[in-house]
Amino acid sequence: MKMFVCIKYVPDTSEAEVKVNPDGVSVDSSRFSFDINDADNYAVEESVLIKEAGEGDITVLSIGPKQSDVMIRMAMAKGCDQAIRVEDDRIASHDPLMVAKVLAGAIKGQEFDLVLTGCMAGDDGHMSTGVALAEELGVNHASMVKKVEVLDGKVKAHRELEGGLLEVVELELPAVLTIQTGINEPRYAPIRGIRAAQKKELKVASLDDIGVDPVAVGPDASMVILEQLYIPEVESSAEFIEGEAEEKADKLASILVKGGLV
């Protein structure tokens, strides 16, 4: 089973305030810690599980800056075999259709059975890149996959629908699967793996290196323009309980009891 796993380096904004830069089209990410996108982490684990269940070869593919090498090495420490990192500032990265073209360019010409990637990125959240990539590669796909069963020349994918209902589909290989979080339990990289990963090949490539025309994936080719980012006003009618922690807890307890809520 020859696999590619496409991963993205994203900021963790789960408990942090996000600020828009003066340019109006980017956010100030200087205070954020970056790591592998959540769903992509599950995609890495799934690729390693598939490899361990039979045999396989996994290439990590990512578009991003040098700092993301840490993330790529971690994926290789878990069992991925080699990596390609595309670094090029001419990519219209706000448009998943352009990103898909770049990923396809890096894969085209190489044999593969499966491409796995997260079903959604935690930063821009389009849920589009993997499915667009399948079309660029001219192969089958299934999105939001919560279980993978590899069969002979085929794959059974359990797609997670609204309300937790699963839709099971059968695809002929090769195929792209976009992986949903919770599909497995991502492992921690073993020390031995971390050492081994340092010796694995991590190729850094520009668009020219992978044979992709920069104009075809740049802002001129993208048919959507990111005009403005802004912080939406949280129209809260909530009563904000103020004070020191203990005071706040006391006040809330009183409200709940007096209001007959508990």
Binding site: G163, S222, I231
Partner: protein, 324 residues
């Protein structure tokens, strides 16, 4: 030309809410774009659904064919690809759902058309279609403008508008499927219903829900203590169930359960749209989160900006004291 083709979504014999919601924004937008709304329904045995959609006042194009007994992204893509050539809609609008996300990006690539995914609003002004969508789990809004294209593709987030009232003028027209035969390389196998657990959180009176802010499962006893003190059931956001801290059948949100307790206490939950969609039916919402800008506060009745671990033990203690 400026017609909007709305793809009505259905599953297991019922129309999905997003189908109605799209009809709340499509007519006015079509008027701005100088066209009208056409609704497309693809499936098998959908006469009743077609009538229901026609009640919103637009023409319904019905492809009723056993070939479409179950959803198949690849079949949908082939049908839509042919209909885009045929009908030349200015906009194809679908839900940003497990269906929409499974074929709209590949359709966009196939046809060389632009796509905006998960729009929360749309506006047509000065000959330009603009969409608003969200980034960073709803912490940032983005305005995106389409460059001129014969057809625009947009998926609309569920639950951003209320379904509209009925309107006159709708009718149903049966059309032939442009796709005539099965597709061998992707096939539907079956549906598997969600697992049922020991507690049905859709029936709970009080829920205490945790999210990513729980950090690790060894912090769970603090929450269990609170739940015990007020006879609440414990639920979780997607982050909490994915991490294995909370069982999957207790996940609140679009891919989990929609709950409607009298009291919902959200702790360490930022309140991404997918979560809020599952708990907005709660009567009273208390939110505790470190981030003052957390979207969860928009739906809260009582809010505390603080570390949940500083608040919850004290809260439990005080509640025990007051309740005797």
């Amino acid at each position: 030309m400026g017609d909007i083709l709305v793809l009505a979504e259905h599953r297991q014999g019922a129309l999905r809410d997003v189908s109605f919601e799209m009809m709340a924004i499509a007519p006015a937008l079509a008027a701005d774009m100088g066209g009208e709304v056409k609704v497309l329904l693809i499936g098998s045995g959908l006469d009743e659904m077609a009538k229901k959609m026609a009640a919103f006042g637009s023409k319904v194009l019905l492809i009723d064919d056993p070939l479409f007994e179950n959803f198949n992204a690849k079949k949908y893509q082939k049908v839509l690809s042919a209909l885009i050539d045929d009908l030349k809609p200015a906009l194809l609008l679908t839900g940003h759902t497990s269906q929409g996300v499974d074929f709209m990006p590949s359709l966009a690539v196939e046809k060389g058309l632009p796509l905006v995914a998960e729009a929360i609003s749309l506006e047509y002004k000065d000959n330009t279609l603009k969409a608003t969508r969200q980034l960073y789990s709803g912490k940032v809004n983005a305005t995106v403008a389409f460059k001129p294209s014969d057809t625009y593709l947009v998926t609309l987030r569920e639950g951003v508008v209320e379904p509209p009232d009925a309107a006159d003028g709708g009718n149903v027209e049966n059309i032939d499927s442009p796709l005539k035969e099965e597709i061998p390389d992707r096939s539907f196998v079956e549906y598997i219903e969600a697992e049922v657990g020991d507690v049905d959180i859709t029936q709970s009176d009080i829920l205490v829900a945790v999210g990513r802010g729980l950090k690790e499962d060894k912090n769970l006893p603090v929450i269990e203590e609170l739940a015990k003190a007020i006879k609440a059931d414990i639920a979780g956001s997607r982050a909490a169930t994915d991490a294995g801290w909370i069982p999957h059948d207790r996940q609140v949100g679009t891919s989990g359960k929609a709950v409607k307790p009298k009291l919902y206490i959200a702790m360490g939950i930022s309140g991404a749209f997918q979560h809020v969609a599952g708990m907005k039916g709660a009567k009273t919402v208390v939110a505790i989160n470190k981030d003052p800008e957390a979207p969860i506060f928009a739906v809260a009745d009582y809010a505390i900006v603080d570390d949940m671990f500083k608040i919850v033990p004290k809260l439990t203690e005080k509640l025990k004291e007051l309740k005797g």
